[in-house]
Each structure stands twice: as structure tokens, then as C-alpha cells.
Subunit: 301 residues, 2 copies
Amino acid sequence: MNADADPLLSHQHALQVLRDALERRLGELLPAGCESDVVARAMREATLAPGKRIRPLLMLLAASDLGASDRDPALLDLACTVEIIHAASLILDDIPCMDDAKLRRGRPTLHRQFGESVAILAAVALLSRAYAVAAEAPGLPGEQRAAAVTTLARAVGLQGLVQGQFLDVSEGSGARSVEAILATNELKTSVLFGATLELAALAADADARATEALSNFAQELGQAFQLIDDLADGVSGTGKDTHQDVGKSTLVATLGESAVRERLSEHLARADAHLAAACPEGEHTRHFVAAWFTQQLDLIG
Amino acid sequence: MNADADPLLSHQHALQVLRDALERRLGELLPAGCESDVVARAMREATLAPGKRIRPLLMLLAASDLGASDRDPALLDLACTVEIIHAASLILDDIPCMDDAKLRRGRPTLHRQFGESVAILAAVALLSRAYAVAAEAPGLPGEQRAAAVTTLARAVGLQGLVQGQFLDVSEGSGARSVEAILATNELKTSVLFGATLELAALAADADARATEALSNFAQELGQAFQLIDDLADGVSGTGKDTHQDVGKSTLVATLGESAVRERLSEHLARADAHLAAACPEGEHTRHFVAAWFTQQLDLIG
């Protein structure tokens, strides 16, 4: 029994070490400022509120599976940039003119804590901070730091999160085709996963074949995440508004739950195959992804 | 007469050539996309609507005065980044939870044309585009491209435009000290001028002394611009809402118009001295600044 249990315990312990390093570094990168610095407090609240840290953990694990050290300071900072960008995107997702959400990560949404103007300014400041952190990632050559900025900016901009948010807001209440829903999911989720894995490859100096396989992995993973999110809507305990998707055409509403569960399995199987191709010698990312989805499916029941 | 008139005409012609190059390049950097791409259209409208292009022209002229070629493609792209960031900041300045402005550059503000969610997303996408353009500036070494991103991100973020906008919104309706008004003006205007001139120095590979003098020039110029803006409030024909500042404590309201005009002269004199120190051999920027303020003061009457 012990021989089987040890690798799992050791995996859990290693994850906790990475989580602690991420929390510490995020706290350093977003200085507290003085009490009157309301935007700084809002930036910290949005980013440091307890979160799953999926994207930065994925980056650290994938880079480690590719042979990089997960203690590399540049890698840690790049991991923080995707978490900061994710936090900014959640702020904007929640504001009154978008989803007008009340709860996020178990707390009142940022605009309900700080007001709408501070929430928007905090999102803009977080995005700027993420680009600056990438541009200054310690120890990376300038060429790679500039490339990291480009990768992040593409994931955020007109062909990424911004377009996904626009499609979500503008088409959310009408009937949508399965293809339209998949396209929105791709922009809202897969694109930032794509950037996350691209930066893992960049930090690990991966070859073109591994980078391509990671990109395919990110596509499948992003779709799987969006499906889990859709399946979880209506389940309490997620820390978000329940039934936020009522009136939106999601894949669950369009295809039914069992078809969505089947698609989810397919995405996960393909994700796993791409990941195995990208990192034939590292298993951290595969364990992490498998454990995470198993846990989420248990929560949904 | 001709001997005196020629340099002026030649200066005007050179400016028009630079303006044309800027308009063309801005149009290329913000692709039109298809008709249904509403965010792309909003990004173009916000940036390409006729504007004074002060910041990018300053960058081109200052870099040229420092010995760089104003035809350098990297310099042109960096000049576009500050205009794109300026356009994004105006969008956010105008939205309902900030100034709730109706007119900008003689047209309905962006949120009145496209709705609030598209306006906010267009601002975010424009900022991302600016960072990507800087990160990819053609022909510059990676180190300098990364440094350009850092310069821009600092000007936008918590110590720049974001903080200026926050102070403007949160303190605008209460009585403020002269020092508080100057601090807000510094963040709302001088910081982006500072980044503009820093990028001019970077593109021209200027020495530390010239870079420092340009930074001092930017400080003085930013304050002068904010004073002209305050003096112009209430004057129609600026393309913006008139009397937008009613109820805000501006320097004009606090110190009176003649004291503000005196301060303006002092800022301009100091700006000119710093500029002469930075570029002892080039006069394009000095001519441009002098002509611009003369014209603005004529408009105000």
C-alpha cells in the first residue's frame, strides 16, 4: 500500500509547494501600497482571493515535464502573468454591463466591493502589470521576454478573451448553434490555456514538435474546462453565482447533459494523448489534469 | 520674405508627411476585420477618428531631433503605440461610470456609438494591441522591445493613467488642494508624455543626459497641456463636451484664469529649456510645441 500511496502523496506535496510559491510571488508582484490606494487593494483582492490557480500550475508542471526547473524565477513570473490576466478577465466578465454577477470565488464580485469604476481600472492595471512582469522576467533573454508579451497580448486581445467576452455578451441570450458555442468557448477559455502552454514551452526551450503538441493539448483542455463549467452551473459551492447561464445557450442546454459528459470524456482523452506526445518523460501535468477533472466530476455528482 | 517663410512652410510640409505616415500605419495596425466584427470597428473608430496626434508627432520629432530617422519603421510603430494607448484612455475616461461624456473629437463618445460593453472591450483590446506592437517593433533588438513594453505598461498602470483616472473620478467633485490637482494632472497627462519621450530616446539610442532632459521636458509639457485643457473647457469647437469640468476643482477654478495663464507660460519656458538641453542640434520639436500652444491660446482667445 505504501509503495502505491507514496507517489500520490509526493505529488500532492509537490503541488502544495508550487501553490505556496505562486501565492507568495503574486503577493510580491502586486504591492499593497497604502490604505488609501484603493485600486491597488482592488487588484490584490481580485488576484489573491483564494482561487484554483489552474493556469499557473499548468505552466509550472508542463515546463517541469519538459525538463525546466519549476524553481526558475522567470517561469514563476510568467506563471503569475497568466493568473493576473485571468483575474482581470474575471473582473470584466462580472461587471454590470457584462454578466452583472454577484459572487466570485465565494465573495462579492469586485465591482460590488469597490464600485464599477475601480473594478474596471483594477482590471486595466492588472493587465498592464502582467505585460510589465513578462517584459521583465528575470534571466530570460530580451527576445524571449518580448515574445512572451506578444503571446499574452494575443490571448487577451481582439482574437482572444476580448472577442470571447464580446460574443458571450452579445449572443448569450439568443439561440446559438453548437459551432457558435464552441467558437465562444475557444476564445473565452482555450486561448488563454494556449498562451499558458506556449509560455511553458518558451520557458523550457521546447522544440517545435513539443510546442505544437502542447498547443493541441491546450485546445482540448480549454474545451473540457468550459464543459465542466457548464455542467457545474446550477451546483452550489463553486463560489460563483449559480444558474448564471440560465437563458444563455450553452452546450448543456443545447445537447443535454449526457452528450456533454461524453464530449468531455473525448476532449480529456485527446488532451491526454497530446500531453503524452509533448512530454513523454514527465507525468506531473497528466496526473494534475486527471485528478482535477475527477474531483470536479465528483463535486457535480 | 521668402527666406523667412520657407522654413515655416517646410516645417508644415514635414509635419503633414509625418501625420500621413502615422494615419496610414495606425490603419494598418488596426485591421478592419469583417463588418460583424464590432469590437474591431470600435477600436478603429476610437483611434482613427480625426485627432491631433500630439504624442506620436512629439515622439517622431524628438527622435528626429536626437538624430534618428523619422522614417525608421520601429519608431513609427512605437509612435502608434502611444496614440493607441491614448485612444484607449479616452474611451475609459468617457464611459458612464467615469465622466459619462457625450462628445469626443466632435463625435458621440464610443459607448454611445457601440454600447458600454463594446467600448470597454475595445479599450482593453487597444491596450493589448499597443503592447504587442511594441513587443514586435521591427528591427529593434529584443532587449529594447521588452523595455518599450515596460515603459508603456508603467505609464498605463497603477502609477500612471489608471491612478490619474481614479483620482479624477474619486476626488473630482470635492474641493482639492493645488497640490492634489497637480498630482492628478501629472498622472493623467505627464506620465504618458514621459513614456512618449522615453521611447523617442530609446529609438534614437540617446545618452542618459538627453534622456533625463527629455523626461523633464515631458513633465513640464504634461502640466502645460492640462492647463490648456482646463482653460479650453467652456470653449466650444474643441470637439469635446463643454463645461465637463463644472463642479470639478481644476486649477482655473481654484487659482483663477490669469494665474493659470502665468503658470502655463512658466511651464512652457521650462519645457523649452529642457528640450534645448536634450536636443541642442534639432529644432523640430521646439517649433512644433511653440506653434501648437500659440494656436491653442488663439482658439481660447
